[in-house]
Amino acid sequence: DTAVSQTPKYLVTQMGNDKSIKCEQNLGHDTMYWYKQDSKKFLKIMFSYNNKELIINETVPNRFSPKSPDKAHLNLHINSLELGDSAVYFCASSQAGSGGPHSTDTQYFGPGTRLTVL
């Protein structure tokens, strides 16, 4: 069974469109994340949710909106896509302890969604 899954795996779209990427984890984790990996393979955190509550919101354009309908899902919606949004987007999850997320938590990554904006 896939621990962290993302759909779609590939997404090719035109500038100006709106698209969503879905993420699901079956690990029973409390915390989920979205990362962006650029063409130079640099990875940067975008958002994090703990028990459906937003806890990390990096400086990303407000065209990007995460949504967590429940603990097992964290979706990423992107409005008015731009060329610079082309990247690989990774979802991840981690198990928080009773005190909430901790720096020692291991994050488990999904396979990534390669977004190409034409």
């Binding site: 962290v4 915390t31 990390i56 020692t104």
Partner: protein
Amino acid sequence: AQSVTQLDSHVSVSEGTPVLLRCNYSSSYSPSLFWYVQHPNKGLQLLLKYTSAATLVKGINGFEAEFKKSETSFHLTKPSAHMSDAAEYFCVVSDPDDYKLSFGAGTTVTVRA
């Protein structure tokens, strides 16, 4: 703020020879440090992590890393490279205040037959 520097962007080794991937960190706290591997067109997989227990950390697939506070280093080693080790390797530090992971720029490992 936490950060990591991977000192080599590309490492090329022959199969059966040792692999050394260098990482230095900057942290004002006791850091948690990780090494992740990314095979081509795949997601990231945890190799090992350091969380202030033993300074020599053993991971999967024969990899290990040693935390050296005096040198602010967390280098990754493997005694004998295998063709399947060809991948991108990321050194990562975790911020204890907000559990954000800060990634290094990555080291591409190629293994020659």
